[in-house]
Subunit: 320 residues, 2 copies
């Protein structure tokens, strides 16, 4: 059996004892002033901000790389600055991959047919040039995708994942309370919509299982719904869960336990603001780069300990 993307993720989680992904959600006003300073002379505002975003991300990546297997840039925070912002995203992806991190792009893309295929090739696959050569565009490892247009809208993404050994996390049950408007409706057999999507995730996984037993086709399951997570865990035993909602959004280490299997695997917990803006609790916008990075380091180590201890307490025989 060949090593697949999911094997790389799982082996890093075990090695680092860290089922954690750090969200790279740069918000200009919250980035310490020291990152702004090198670019005061730049006249193009969006180009200037693009540089600031990338330098900020680089320091986060350097700081967290020894402690986590993956980072998760949220596309919206780069799209804010148009093509210049997207340039910062591209550079961030490249830099993170260079540091051996797995990159999960949180784009929640969704469409049908050729359009879905275009998104899939852009973010996960390869793109044909004028000379008929294939070239990577964003080249991330995983992309989040949204299922409002049904199973057929997910298939082009899954197809590209198969061709390029990539993965997706399909939105199943999101962390916000308003999700119920759509995600808790039922189909004609009385099955909850988020469970219908869970079933698709499970079905897609047949060709994606790695040596570790898990699949590169995953699900987004919010930390804020532990009861639903318990059912979803059983419905998708071999699928990885990307879990938002820990920390700032109110989910605790106890809430995330049902997202895991007894082997301590099956879920990766995201934290963005509680890590990358942890400096705000002890310093202010004038802090130095060293002070900033110290806060990031402390908060990621604390999060890892919090989650690891809770898992070990619940599943003493887990794999790491």
């Amino acid at each position: 059996m060949r090593m697949m993307l999911i094997d790389k993720l799982v082996s890093q989680i075990i090695k680092l004892k860290s089922p954690i992904v750090v969200g790279l959600d740069p918000v200009l006003e919250k980035i310490p002033a020291v990152y702004w300073q090198p670019y005061t002379a730049e006249k193009n505002e969006f180009k200037k901000i693009s540089n600031i975003l990338f330098d900020f991300n680089k320091d986060i990546i350097d700081t967290v790389a020894p402690y986590v297997p993956a980072v998760k840039p949220q596309t919206a925070f780069y799209e804010v600055y148009g093509s210049e912002g997207i340039r910062a995203l591209e550079k961030t992806i490249e830099y993170a991959k260079g540091k051996g991190l797995i990159v999960i792009e949180d784009g929640k893309r969704n469409d049908i047919g050729n359009t879905a295929l275009a998104y899939a090739n852009a973010h996960l696959g390869m793109v044909k040039t004028t000379t008929d050569k294939m070239q990577e565009s964003f080249g991330v490892d995983f992309l989040t995708i949204s299922p409002y247009l049904g199973k057929e809208s997910l298939e082009p993404f899954v197809e590209v994942c198969k061709n390029y050994d990539k993965g997706v996390f399909i939105l199943v049950k999101t962390s916000n309370s308003g999700n119920k408007d759509v995600q808790d409706t039922v189909n004609k057999d009385g099955i909850l919509t988020h469970q219908v999507i869970a079933k698709f995730v499970e079905e897609f996984s047949k060709n994606f299982k790695g040596e570790c037993g898990y699949s590169s086709i995953g699900a987004v399951v919010g930390a804020t719904y532990p009861n639903e997570a318990e059912i979803l865990r059983k419905m998708m035993p071999h699928n990885y869960f990307l879990v938002p909602g820990y920390g700032v959004q109110g989910g605790t280490s106890k809430d995330i336990v049902p997202c895991f299997n007894p082997d301590g695997l099956g879920a990766i917990i995201n934290s963005s603001r509680a890590i990358i803006y942890s400096y705000e609790k002890v310093k202010d916008i004038t802090c130095s780069k060293e002070e900033y990075k110290d806060c990031v380091k402390t908060s990621i180590i604390n999060m890892r300990t919090d989650i690891y201890n809770m898992l070990k307490e619940t599943y003493p025989n887990m794999l790491y």
Copy 2:
């Protein structure tokens, strides 16, 4: 009452007798060779393609501007080429606006809280720079958005629309058959999910009604579901429908009638491939720019006649 975005759209539809939007979905392999030629010396492939895409779009925009009120770039086809592709999208938006066209960006964005707000400000609103000035990023008129995360995920977009006199088209009932997996489920009161979303669209519209009586908060309703469209038309009497699925996807002029009110307003019909690749039926990839533009012109005039005649036959007293 002040003139709002929707009044501009409606007055152009009436003036041009054309409830039509042309989709700008550039696919490199289908773009006539003459558009590739000026850039043979460019070494950066994505920069080269970005220039080709923009030149191609310029000729489409110049050709259709006298006949339609709006164009609809599909974000995926630009994202394919990363930041360079997004640069072509930005230039296309600017050029179309310069020609007096309304720009509907088909991005199907979706997220919650600050992330949804970031998408809304990026595409519809304004963005704060390092000097605390506000600057437009994409600056489109309308954006399509996707509701899998529920009503609360739509609200940040609606809020930005209110502040900047912009609009959204919220996915309600899409043109693909697979939509039923999610869109035809029911909530605890037995209401179909796509009708639940329709109700949100209607509720959001209170502060958006222009002089024309319609709202800048619209719905995406596929031409392939005329029965559902009839019900949705009654549920959202004042909302504009963006209607995909006419032409290549199988919807006929008869199918789109239920999307309209008897005033001949309330819907705008999209066509992409049947217009911008109409040359393929009579010419090939070696055609000249004049030949290419003639095909675009003929196909858009034919589509306008087809839709106008069907509407006039159904609603002889319509407003244009």
